[in-house]
Structures are given as structure tokens and as C-alpha cells.
């Protein structure tokens, strides 16, 4: 039987399954509530946000339609450009470190051994803890007066340790927080991916005298590529929207060293009441992320099942 005939057979069967009379309306009745809620609470606001982004706001009230001015203004706003640059650096370093560490850990845990279940259980904790609380945990580590680093340093005769007051150290501290929180996710995805790889190629390679490094580069990496790509894409999209942790840890400071676009947008809207400008900013961010996601999906499709 050809593929097309098979496909048609399946459609016929689906149609038969749909029945007649009241049953014909059933799928629409099933879809209606979720479509209506999503239209009202997600799609309408999305459209409303687009409208707001073409308006000039004063003290939270729209006063004039300005077309695309808000969007154009973004690209000559040094604060926006800086926040975008901080975000890109944050995403890049966090995701890169998480991928490498997660992969190393997954390879390390691939063979079952005693204690692995304990390890997997404990690793769940960082990623399910409320992000706000993760930020509190790290403030308690970094703080110059109450911090763990300071306490250790003083117990060994050193002085106070400054982290959140220094631009570079605060940025590294933020990346460290993200790595602590999300490396376990990378680890779990990649471990699940590794466990589904077929064993035969590895055995054949071993018979042929390939060392562990060779079989990692020539076999593991290429076969793991689809899972690796999905994990990186998911993490990147998620990291781009990071807000809670920065809001509590540094609120973008010191200066603007850790001011991600989400924080800048939030302040623009809720602190400085420039609603239209902030809406344009968020629409721009959404478009950037969507473009990234679409490009990634296309790339994955072209690569096909490796």
C-alpha cells in the first residue's frame, strides 16, 4: 500500500469515528471553551499590546498616536541597547555552561551505580524551588554582611566579600545562580536522550579499537544532536525571559550591570509609566524570541532525524 493510500485510509477512519448528528458538532463544542479563553486572555491582550505600542503615554494614559516611533526610538535608546546586550551575554554564558556541565553529568551518570537515585532526587530541588526563593538563597550567599562567602572568609581570618556591589562580579553571580538552578534540567533531558541511544554502534566502535573520546565525538555527539538542540533551544527561550531572579537579587544593579530587558521593560512601564514605549519593547522582545524559535525549528527539520 502506498503512503498516500494509507494516509487517506486513516482520514476515512477518522471521519467514520466522528459519527453523525449531535456528534458532528462535538469537536467544536470541545474546542470552544479553550479557544474562547485563550482568545480573551492571551490573543486579545497581544493585539491590545500592539495597539498600545503605537501610542504615546503620559502618566499611564494614552495621549497621542505615534505610529512606529516607539519602535524606532528603541534602537537609539542606549539603556535598551545595553539591556539587550546584557541579556544576550547572560543567555549565552548561562546556556553554554549549563549545556557543557549537564552533558558531562549525564555521561557520568549514564551507567547505573549506587546513589544515582539520590542524586537525581536532589537535583530536582533547584529547578522546582520558587525562583524568587532561589534569588533569596543567592542573596544570602553573596551579601557582604550576612553572606556565606563573608562568613567563611571571616572564619578563616579574612574580611568581607563584596559581590553584588561590583558590576562584573554581580553579573557572574547572576550567571552562577542560573547555572545552579537550571543545569539539573539540562542533565535530565540529556540523560533521557543518552539512554535512548542504540548500544550496537558503541560496541562495534569498541571492537574496532576506538577510545572513549573517539566514540564520544563520532557517535554520541552526532546521535544526541536532536535532543541537544531541543534542550538548548528551550533553555535559551526561557533564559531570555528571566525576570524574577534578577528582580530579587540585584534589580538590575549595580548600575546597569545585570539589567536584563525584562527588568528594563518592567521599570519603564510600572515605575516610569511609559506604557506605550514599554509595550513596544516587549513586542520587540517577543518577535526576537519567535524569530529565534522559528529559525531553530527550521534548522532542526532540515537536519532531520540524525
Amino acid at each position: 500500500v502506498s503512503e498516500a493510500a494509507k494516509l487517506e485510509g486513516r482520514f476515512k477512519r477518522r471521519e467514520r469515528l466522528q459519527g453523525a448528528g449531535f456528534d458532528l458538532a462535538l469537536p467544536y463544542l470541545l474546542l470552544a471553551p479553550c479557544v474562547l479563553i485563550v482568545l480573551a486572555v492571551l490573543v486579545y491582550p497581544l493585539w491590545d499590546g500592539l495597539r498600545a505600542s503605537t501610542m504615546l503615554y503620559r502618566y499611564g494614559k494614552p495621549v497621542a498616536a505615534v505610529g512606529f516611533d516607539n519602535y524606532l526610538q528603541l534602537w537609539s535608546d542606549p539603556q535598551f541597547l545595553n539591556s539587550l546586550w546584557v541579556t544576550v551575554r547572560f543567555v549565552f554564558f548561562s546556556v553554554a555552561i549549563e549545556t557543557v556541565l549537564g552533558l558531562a553529568l549525564a555521561l557520568f551518570c549514564l551507567r547505573e551505580f549506587r546513589g544515582i537515585r539520590l542524586l537525581r532526587t536532589i537535583l530536582i530541588v533547584p529547578m522546582v524551588i520558587t525562583p524568587v526563593v532561589v534569588a533569596i538563597v543567592f542573596r544570602l550567599i553573596y551579601a557582604s554582611d550576612a553572606g556565606m562567602f563573608t562568613a567563611f572568609s571571616e572564619s578563616m581570618g579574612g574580611g568581607e566579600v563584596q559581590i553584588l556591589g561590583d558590576p562584573t562580579k554581580a553579573f557572574i553571580g547572576l550567571v552562577a545562580l542560573d547555572v545552579w538552578e537550571w543545569t539539573p534540567l539540562m542533565f535530565l533531558i540529556l540523560l533521557a536522550g543518552l539512554q535512548t541511544l542504540p548500544q550496537e554502534p558503541f560496541e562495534a566502535a569498541r571492537v574496532d579499537g576506538a577510545g572513549p573520546w573517539r566514540s564520544f565525538v563520532d557517535l554520541t555527539l552526532p546521535m544526541l544532536r536532536p535532543v541537544l538542540a531541543i534542550a538548548i533551544v528551550l533553555r535559551t527561550i526561557d533564559a531570555f525571559g528571566t525576570f524574577d531572579q534578577v528582580f530579587v537579587l540585584t534589580h538590575g544593579g549595580p548600575g546597569e550591570a545585570t539589567k536584563l530587558v525584562s527588568i528594563y521593560g518592567y521599570d519603564t512601564s510600572f515605575k516610569f509609566q511609559q506604557t506605550g514605549y514599554a509595550a513596544a519593547l516587549f513586542v520587540t522582545i517577543g518577535l526576537i524570541i519567535l524569530a529565534f524559535a522559528l529559525a531553530a525549528v527550521r534548522m532542526l527539520r532540515r537536519a532531520g532525524p540524525a
Binding site: L17, G19, D23, L26, P27, Y28, L30, L31, C34, I37, V38, V41, L42, P45, L46, G49, A52, F113, G115, L119, R120, I122, L123, I124, V125, P126, V128, I129, T130, P131, V132, V133, I136, V137, F138, R139, L140, I141, A143, A146, M148, I189, A192, I230, A231, I237, G241, F243, F247, V248, H251, Y266, F270, T275, A278, A279, F282, G286, I289, L290
Partner: protein, 272 residues
């Protein structure tokens, strides 16, 4: 043998990296502010529950906890019901213009857009509807977010169930809807559980919309309430760490109890 020692060392190091930061917060929650900032002790020398009592008697943490539980439960249950129905329609029916596929793809696209993008319009919407600082405002918002996720997850679970079972039930005289209710739904129960668990964790932890949409203990959720303790100049470390422990404890216990079902939700169903 050497491999065993190496493994042990790596394991210990990992456990320390995960647990020591958490230990530090838990320890601080039993210390006084003076002990935290001036003495910098490594463990509480005079442990007391004062910080916790203070949160409930002075800082309305009872309300925050109630608000969180109500908002989380209601929005997750609503989303599960509505989302499963929609997911079933997308997984099983073949509509005109491939409508079901288009709905499915649109929901997935909405899922990819980070929530922060619609923060401002949702705030303006709730302002118009006079739903700021209320349970209902949060419930509506969270339900919508959870629906996109539930549809995506449940659709893949329904697709894994063979159609033949429902066909057989219909031959035996079940209506189309009863075939769904009696056959497909029970078979998808594990998927329903996995979806619910993940939705509960994400909703309980949500902060950004709670920050924008609530302003008083009447509707503030746990993460939102915890953030009120974070001062810019003088930080009340003792209260903050106790709040952190209380805020994280319910969800950590919950996650550890149901950890088997967690991974699929976390990865958006990318890895089974």
C-alpha cells in the same frame, strides 16, 4: 576501585553544591538578625522559631499561603478540564480547513511567546475589568497560561492511545462523547497527572504577573508576599530567609513526592 572513589568524590561535590546554599538559608531562618549580620556564625547557636512566628503574626503570611493555594488549585483544575477537551478534539477529529491543526499550532506558538510580552495589556485588561488585586484576576490569567500547556501535553498523550478502543466502544453503543469519557480519559490519566503536577509547580511559583496584578495581602501570592520583605537599604535577613523556607517548602515536598512524573512536563514533552 579508583573509578569508585572518583564517583564518590564527584557525587559528594554535587550534593554539596546543591545542598549547602539551601542549608545556609534554612540555618539563617533560625538565627536572629544580629547573629546573621554581626556574628556570621556557620550554624544557629540559639535556634528559635521566632522568625516564622513573626511572619504569620505580623506579616500576613497566612493570607499569602491561602491565596496561593486557592489560585493555584482553581486555575490548574479549570485548565485541565478545558485543556483536555480541546486536546482531545485536536488529537482525534478531522475538521474542515484542518481547523484543529491550526488551533493546535496557534496554541503552541502562544506557548513560545514569553508571558512578559503580554504583561502590560493583561494589566490594562484587569484594570478595565476592575479585577486588579483579586483572586479572580489571577485565576483567569493563570488558567489561560495553563491551557496552552495542557492542550500541548494532553494532545500527545491522547495520540498515544490507540483509536481502536474508542471505535469498539462506539460499536457497542457508546456515544462519541461517552467513548471519550469512558475509554480515552481513564487511559490518559497518567498524562493528566503529569500535566497537573507541572502546572501546579509553575503556577505556585509564578511571580511576574502576581507582582503586576496584586498589591495587598488580599490577593498577594506566596512569591509576591515574600518579595515585599526585600528592602532596598535595610534588609531583614531573618524574616527573608524564613519566608524563603516557607515559600519553597510546599512545592519542594510536592515535587519530591511526584518526581517520577516531572521530567516530561519540564521539557515540554520534548523527551518522553
Amino acid at each position: 576501585m579508583r573509578a569508585g572513589i572518583l564517583r564518590g568524590a564527584v557525587m559528594t561535590l554535587l550534593l554539596a553544591i546543591v545542598l549547602v546554599p539551601i542549608y545556609w538559608m534554612v540555618a539563617a531562618s533560625f538565627k536572629s538578625n544580629k547573629e546573621i549580620t554581626q556574628d556570621a556564625t556557620l550554624y544557629p547557636h540559639a535556634p528559635s522559631f521566632d522568625n516564622y512566628l513573626h511572619l504569620f503574626s505580623q506579616k500576613q503570611f497566612g493570607s499569602y499561603l491561602t491565596n496561593s493555594l486557592v489560585v493555584t488549585c482553581v486555575s490548574v483544575v479549570l485548565a485541565l478540564v478545558v485543556g483536555s477537551l480541546g486536546a482531545y478534539a485536536i488529537a482525534r477529529f478531522h475538521l474542515k480547513y484542518r481547523l484543529e491543526r491550526k488551533v493546535g499550532l496557534s496554541l503552541l506558538t502562544l506557548r513560545i511567546v514569553p508571558p512578559v510580552v503580554i504583561l502590560i495589556p493583561v494589566y490594562l485588561l484587569m484594570l478595565d475589568l476592575k479585577l486588579l488585586d483579586s483572586w479572580l484576576g489571577l485565576i483567569i490569567t493563570y488558567t489561560a497560561f495553563n491551557i496552552t500547556f495542557c492542550v500541548w501535553m494532553m494532545e500527545s498523550f491522547f495520540r498515544e492511545i490507540p483509536v481502536d478502543l474508542e471505535e469498539a466502544a462506539m460499536v457497542d453503543g457508546d456515544s462519541r462523547f461517552n467513548a471519550f469519557r469512558r475509554i480515552a480519559l481513564p487511559l490518559a490519566a497518567p498524562g493528566l497527572a503529569a500535566t497537573a503536577i507541572f502546572a501546579v509547580i509553575v503556577t505556585f511559583n509564578e511571580f511576574l504577573f502576581a507582582l503586576a496584578l496584586t498589591a495587598t495581602p488580599r490577593a498577594m501570592t506566596m512569591p509576591r508576599g515574600t518579595a515585599t520583605l526585600i528592602g532596598r537599604i535595610d534588609t531583614d535577613w531573618a524574616s527573608m530567609s524564613a519566608a524563603g523556607v516557607i515559600g519553597a517548602l510546599p512545592i519542594v515536598i510536592f515535587a519530591l513526592l511526584v518526581q517520577r512524573h516531572l521530567v516530561r512536563g519540564l521539557t515540554l514533552g520534548a523527551v518522553k
